[in-house]
């Protein structure tokens, strides 16, 4: 992440924290409602490839953290060179119970399946998402399975054990 970008980021956005951990591992923490503007700014400055959106469940802080993984392959004015790939993480915290977030599909079409996955597994509701239908799971669960407060063993206990095994001898002989 070159310095010119850092200064421009600081100047345009106020509540912004940039953390550098080693080479090529910078992350930007930003407020919930500034995400879209930062995303579009980053997109204009070359970070146009959204790898993935992932979600972390900070149950003790009572918040869900959404992480956009972006990367850039050519500095403005330079030729495309895969060796110059620079990755960037954009983090934001959203409350757990009214877990609601603006969908980033207008900026990145590719975000559609990621947002559906997060909606299905973390229960985050993305406004403006065209098709928030289940992606992997056959069944629906009251607390989304990937949340920490979802006790999977308990669920298995209640649901799978509850299914009776086949009563063999009940019927008459063959």
């Amino acid at each position: 992440m070159d310095d010119t970008l850092r200064q421009r980021l600081d100047s345009t956005f106020d509540s912004l924290r940039i953390v550098e951990k080693g080479t090529n591992n910078t992350s930007i923490a930003v407020g919930r409602n500034a995400v879209m503007s930062v995303l579009s700014f980053l997109k204009q400055s070359g970070y146009d490839h959204l790898h993935a959106i992932s979600c972390v469940d900070w149950i003790d802080k009572g918040a869900l953290e959404l992480v956009w993984v972006l990367s850039r392959y050519m500095r403005p004015g330079e030729q495309y060179d895969p060796k110059h790939a620079e990755n960037l993480l954009l983090r934001t915290m959203i409350p757990r119970d009214p877990a609601r977030m603006v969908s980033s599909i207008p900026l990145f079409e590719v975000a559609e399946p990621y947002e559906r996955e997060i909606h299905e597994l973390f229960g985050v509701d993305f406004e403006g998402h065209p098709r928030l239908i289940p992606l992997f799971l056959e069944r629906s669960y009251d607390t989304p399975p990937f949340r920490k407060d979802f006790d999977t063993r308990q669920y298995v206990e209640d649901f799978f054990e509850s299914i009776p095994s086949i009563v063999e001898d009940g019927g008459e002989g063959e």
């Binding site: 069944r139 399975p145 298995v156 095994s165 086949i166």
Partner: protein, 184 residues
């Protein structure tokens, strides 16, 4: 082909036929399938036992489920099992179909497969080796001999229970029940 083999052939050709010609539908799910190719090629050669991979379930009588069964895969397994012609045997391959294996506490995997479709034989082990398949096959021979491999009969007899379990897990199937379910 000694004498008593011949007598067995004459007395119960169907059973002997089934023993020595087990055409298998390999249901490639989970990590078990990687064990199947070596078992049918030069090193282990399943064909010696008459075990041959077939293209469609209609042509098969052995159903090998080779790995963990997620909820979505169960729908395909039930569909394939129901499309196989009648005297059919299923073998659960590896510990996952038996009791969920290492995914025992996962919300998305089926723990006891025999609650949904009848299983005739199990091969324990978290990825049993190809020889284990042949042990299973020979074991299946003895079961067929003693008429104990009657999974398909149990399925027909207790179909209502099986169907109930299936519908409970899969919230409604897209095809009608295989056998008519009596009231209740």
């Amino acid at each position: 082909m000694d004498r008593n083999q011949l007598i067995k052939w004459l007395e119960a050709p169907a059973k002997m036929g089934h023993k020595y010609s087990l055409h298998a539908v390999y249901f490639c799910t989970g990590c078990g399938i990687i064990e199947v190719p070596p078992s049918i090629t030069a090193r282990w050669d399943a064909e010696r036992f008459g075990v041959l991979p077939t293209a469609s379930p209609r042509q098969a009588n052995l159903f090998l489920i080779t790995g963990y069964v997620s909820v979505k895969t169960l729908k395909a397994i039930i569909r394939t099992y129901e499309q196989m012609p009648e005297p059919k045997y299923t073998v659960g391959f590896g510990s996952c179909p038996i009791n969920g294996g290492m995914y025992w506490d996962s919300y998305n995997t089926i723990k006891h497969l025999d609650k949904y479709i009848p299983i005739d034989g199990w091969i324990a082990g978290c990825m049993p080796r190809p020889e284990a398949i042949f042990v299973a096959v020979t074991h299946l021979w003895t079961l067929i001999d003693k008429d104990m491999a009657d999974g398909y009969k149990r399925y027909r007899k207790y179909y209502s229970q099986y169907r109930a379990n299936q519908e409970k897990v899969l919230l409604g199937l897209e095809w009608p029940p295989l056998f008519p379910i009596e009231a209740g």
